[in-house]
């Protein structure tokens, strides 16, 4: 279950969408990608850190939130399988760190699946696992940002990422139901 949770957070951070988001164009540079990834990782770790108070504030327990997270990420994964989020995004290669928040930090890396997975896994397994997972995702983000996403393969990668996301999310739902 811990491995699945790790994989869920790693895949929920949508680094596999970067080639499609950049298309034939050039990404905003290795340094910018690394900074954007670090920002997203920091936000995800913060979400995991405050996951307990968040769930308390929402008056739901971890199993209920886990099931809800699984169902929502399943829906998001299906959207990716259907091709949503596989079109190139506008990228300003010269805009610096702040200007390239879009589309790298948001919407590609920090989507609802990242937020939900960080809170759910943070609540169930603690901050450290989320930290390792988002650090891995950040590394993948840097590597994948240098691939030329102009071919059809980048769209296929988004669909494949969606499938993997669905599998992990469905497992999360069953984990939640079993632990209830």
């Amino acid at each position: 279950m811990t491995l699945r949770a790790f994989l869920l957070v790693t895949v929920a951070v949508g680094w596999w969408r970067l080639p499609a988001a950049f298309g034939h164009g050039t990404g905003p540079g290795r340094r910018n990608i690394a900074i954007q990834s670090a920002i997203v990782a920091a936000i995800a770790v913060c979400m995991a850190w405050v996951s307990g108070p968040i769930l308390d504030g929402l008056a739901v327990d971890t199993e209920t939130f886990r099931i809800a997270t699984g169902l929502t990420i399943t829906a998001l994964g299906m959207a990716r399988v259907l091709g949503w989020g596989s079109r190139p995004e506008p990228v300003d290669v010269d805009a610096g760190v702040a200007g390239s928040l879009w589309p790298v930090a948001y919407p590609v890396l920090l989507g609802p699946s990242t937020v939900l997975a960080a809170v759910s896994v943070g609540s169930d397994h603690g901050v450290f696992l989320v930290l390792i997972a988002v650090a891995s995702a950040a590394l993948f983000a840097v590597v994948f940002s240098f691939l030329n996403g102009g071919g059809r393969w980048s769209g296929s990668l988004v669909r494949l990422g969606g499938v993997v996301l669905i599998l992990l999310a469905v497992a999360l739902v069953f984990d939640g139901l079993r632990d209830v």
């Binding site: 739901v60 939130f65 990228v91 805009a95």
Partner: protein, 402 residues
Amino acid sequence: MSGLDRDREGAPTRRRVLAHVAAWVLGVAVFRVGLIAPQSCPGVTVDELDHTIEQTVGWATTNLLSNGEFLYRYDRSSNTDLGGYNPTRHAAMTNALYQVAAAGDLRWIRETDRTLDYMLRNLVTTSDVVDAEAVAFAVGGARPRIGASALLVAAMAHRRTATGETTHDAQMRLLGQFLVGQIESNGAVAAEWDPGSREPVWGEYGIFATGEVAWALALLDETFPGEGWAGHGITIVEYVIHDRRAHEGLTLRAPDHWVSYATAELGDKWEPTPDESEYLRRLAGDFAVMIRVESQRSGAGIQKFLRFGQALGAGVGALGEGLAGLSRTPSIGDERDELEKHLVCTAGVLVDRQVDESDVVSDPTKEVGAWFKDDITQVDDQQHTLSTLLFAREVLTRETRP
């Protein structure tokens, strides 16, 4: 030129950002309302439980009819006794009242004895063979339904615990003989006995009667150790776990709180296999999921549309009974804390929903202490809830003990 201003030829970027913001707001709202509605588990104290229990017992005993029957079904919107009667529910309510007595509060024992007398006046002999004599509880010449007799046994067992009196021991054994005579070789339990053929009606089962019989037999074994009653109870429990769905054509695992009563009462007399323990864990999961869903039902507004109205008091109470029984089952003792947490949550939900003086619509005597759905209450709304409140009280008393 910023990234947000670049995309002038396509959809305006500002519009796109607004679309994302709108999607987030909508998504968060749907997530909150549809998937993670707040779970309402109002905290309860022992004093609040005592008050709620007293109100419930008050409803049952104040509205007793002269013949020992309970007020069965009542509509407060028209202040009407809707009539009808069900012997099984009579026995179950009597049992719940004796559970109160067995927990140490004997204030209502006289009134409860009147409801017991009603059953004792309606016993029919089901065997003419002297050394295998047996009796069952049935009203007005109807076919004896086994659940009614099983719950009569449970009531007598709790009365015996409460008073120490052995007055009804012989009748308990005769009822026990009737219960055993209804068990098929595979552990299935015939739900009725036919006075015409003087035989069980083989092949007809009751969704809850089977578990009720298993529990009654476990109680008989506790009352009369060494007479072999538990063996029959174990046979039934193992049938429920392994064969019941296929044999009785059930699609899903029945959320049978009576079986959980039985496994708790059997205690260490039954040594389940890992598969059997796993079944009980899943049954516990069923109850836990259901009380989670129920605790999210506000019964109003969009939540009523999405999650439907709040369940009957009987339904919520039965969840608590199931959780209580499984929390006391030794083979899944590691789940005890978690199950007791859900049990206390169930009690909190029930305390919150009980009608008190300020909620009265027509007649306080028939309303205060009861649970209504669509302005109607039925005796089992009070019966299941009362048992759950008692079990929750035991948990809280243990937790608050210095």
